[in-house]
């Protein structure tokens, strides 16, 4: 959302875009997040989908705000690489642009992650709304949910 306006910065994605974006990727299109943890050092976490990345990145317990399902390690990805991945294999140019904008001027990793999280939250919420609307429409037409 553009702050305070209640208006999304994104256009509504098509169901084709959503289906493409949330799919499980082939091996060649994977992205690696580095889970940095005092027990084992940097551990590669291979992510094959947006869901994998979201789950991996956005639960580091920086503060009390993230109260359920919080992580005690630090999961790191090079932000430019993440943006390129969202633009490329995920195929959502608007999402990638919004991430790039959110990242501009952020200097430390914590700030980068905290800037990216609301962008992820908003776009994924849109995906979900499109997906659910599509399923309801299918149900209305008697098409089995896929």
């Amino acid at each position: 959302m553009t702050a305070g306006t209640g208006v999304s910065a994104f256009s509504t994605p098509s169901k084709e875009l959503v289906a493409h974006a949330v799919r499980e990727l082939d091996y060649a299109d994977r992205i690696v997040v580095y889970a940095m943890n005092s027990a084992v050092g940097s551990q590669e976490t291979i992510c094959y989908s947006l869901a994998d990345v979201t789950k991996t990145l956005f639960k580091t317990q920086w503060s009390n705000l993230l109260s359920s399902g919080t992580k005690l390690g630090l999961n790191w990805v090079r932000p430019e690489k993440l943006v390129a991945w969202v633009r490329g294999p995920i195929g959502d140019r608007e999402f990638a642009d919004a991430l790039e904008q959110a990242l501009a001027g952020q200097n430390c990793y914590r700030d980068q992650v905290m800037a990216m999280e609301p962008v992820f939250a908003e776009r994924l919420q849109q995906y979900r709304e499109v997906w659910e609307a599509d399923e309801q429409a299918d149900a209305g037409r008697g098409v089995a949910a896929s």
């Binding site: 082939d26 889970a35 005092s38 551990q43 399902g69 919080t70 005690l72 430390c108």
Partner: protein
Amino acid sequence: MATGGYVGKILYVNLTDKTTETIETSKYEKFAGGHGIASALFFDLVADKQIGAYDPDNLVTVMSSPFSGTLTPSASGRTEMTGIGSYSYPVEWYTRSNFGGRFGGMMKFAGWDGICIQGASDTPVWINVVNDKVTFEDASALWGLYTDETQEEIWKTVSGSPDVRDWYHLSNTRDGGRTTQKPAVLCIGPAGENLNRNATCQHDAGNAAGQGGFGGVWGSKNLKAISVIGSGSVPIADPAALMDLRLKMQKESAYNVDAPELEAPFPGFNLYGIMTKQPAYGGLLWAPNQPARPQGCQGCFKCCQVTFESGIGNGDICTESLYFMAATDFNEQMKAAFLLDQVGINAYDVFNHAYLYGLYKQGILGPGMQIESNLPWEKYGTYEFMDAFTKCVAEGTDIGADLKEGIRRATEKWGRWDIDSSSGALKYPYWGYMEHYEPRVEVEWAYGTIFGERDTNEHSFNWDLHWMPLVTAAIGAPPLIPAKDMVEIWAEKSGIGDPTAFDYSAEGVYSDGMVKVTAWQRHHTRFWIQSLLMCDWAWPNFVNYTADKNGLSPEIEMGLYSAVTGNPLTWEESIQIGRRIWNLDRAIWVLQGRHRDQEVFANYVYDTVTEAAHQMPMLENGEWVYGEGIGRNIDRAKFEDFKGRFYAYEGWDSSTGWPLRATLEELDLADVANELEGHGLLGASA
């Protein structure tokens, strides 16, 4: 007067004959304790060093230190195990593993500084030690049980289940000793029984002798468990001095839980615990979503583990807690970690499920594929998959038939090793062990491992030189101690002297200074961490992140040593004893066939570059910074050159890596030199 800290006897067990003997600890005191004494016993009692891990003549030693069973801070709880391990590749090197809890202390309360086991039983057996009474018990009813079930059965058999909280009489006489404590048990699970190379020995909840492959060695001996219960006392030379030093440590260098001087900047940001030493800060992926307590090994002042309301995964805060990273539920994450404990498998070896899923995604592994597997790969990322995967490795079924040999041997068999270790898809860079911290940047760890025989797993430098700058950079805070000050403290306190030795820049990692750093760590840890058994999550305490930047080491170690043993010891002497033990180990590996040509990393270390930051101190344009180390690799030729200089520094033949006679004699190891010479394996020249 007997040296304080020791109880005077080592139990020697002949499992073939089911007999025991007593070895006087005093014969081996010059090797300090823990690993040192265990290596000396191995050298003396194993005539043919070339036997395999599963040969009955393999000697497995479980050893305490003078500090075990005392409140020497974070130096009582760990116990060392050595022997020929089944895990390493291509040679089953004589190796070590180490676990937390209370086993070493309990051995001493029973009157034993250590237990060494040779031979093999023809039927499943467990060793029952009740003070000085040692019996061999039939383990057929325990065989096949998980490690938690095994311990629970043994507790019930010896002194009652843990729900029975009362004084237990160790004999039927009034003065035969009593305790409220349950036996300390060390045992294997189904993986060890199946002779898995990646099998562990487990103790209490969440403590494992994980690396090295000792679970399979025990399995080969038909040894299911050792249980020890004791009621005796550990003599202390100067008790008041020991108490003073313990309280000093807690006051000046520990986390004050009620009024911490340094606290995590955000509540629950437990990674900050690396600097604060706060309790319960271990490696969990998810913060506990339920009530919990911190849990500490015997005599610890940090208490990094956790015990949960669920009771699932108690103590599992280390590597095993990260086994199921895809878990979206805390209890599922811990259930997967606990399952590893239960079957007794080394987490480092089975983290490779992510790599295997990659092979599945590429159509190389799966039903009807080149690597046949009918596991539910389509459900990868679920607990159902993790359960099936873990059990197939423990049982040796499906793909587990190959994986029980360890991922290094499995990928060799599949024809995948060369390609995947070259690309970095499989990061097992040294002796078949999983990468642990970035080998292309934090080189003292990588070098120490390749010149040794296993993942060193020694966090000596790692907390201060790597983690503190990483954590502070991640939150945009200045480092708690600037790089220049840090390297100066480390150079001065270690005795290395030259701060530039700690330069981890692209050129610094090949310097003569880095030779000294690598060698120093080998010597320091062989004495203080692996023989005196001080926990590497607390020691050495060179740096303090609260008031003054300086920690209490090395003076406090000297004080603790003399308070417990009654003997004086200088820092230089301690490093020299460590050097003695390190060279004894080196000689054993040479007798097993070690040559410099084997000491090379997997290809990816040389041929690919780092992509993630790995902060370390670096000199850049004459200024000390915590550099990120991105885009780094190890240069083959430069490492080979470094190797020769390292050998020369250690007093080894630079063409072979074999110790020279002069070096061994200087270290009071003339008999070791003689044995090497008898096999034509003595170093010829520096």
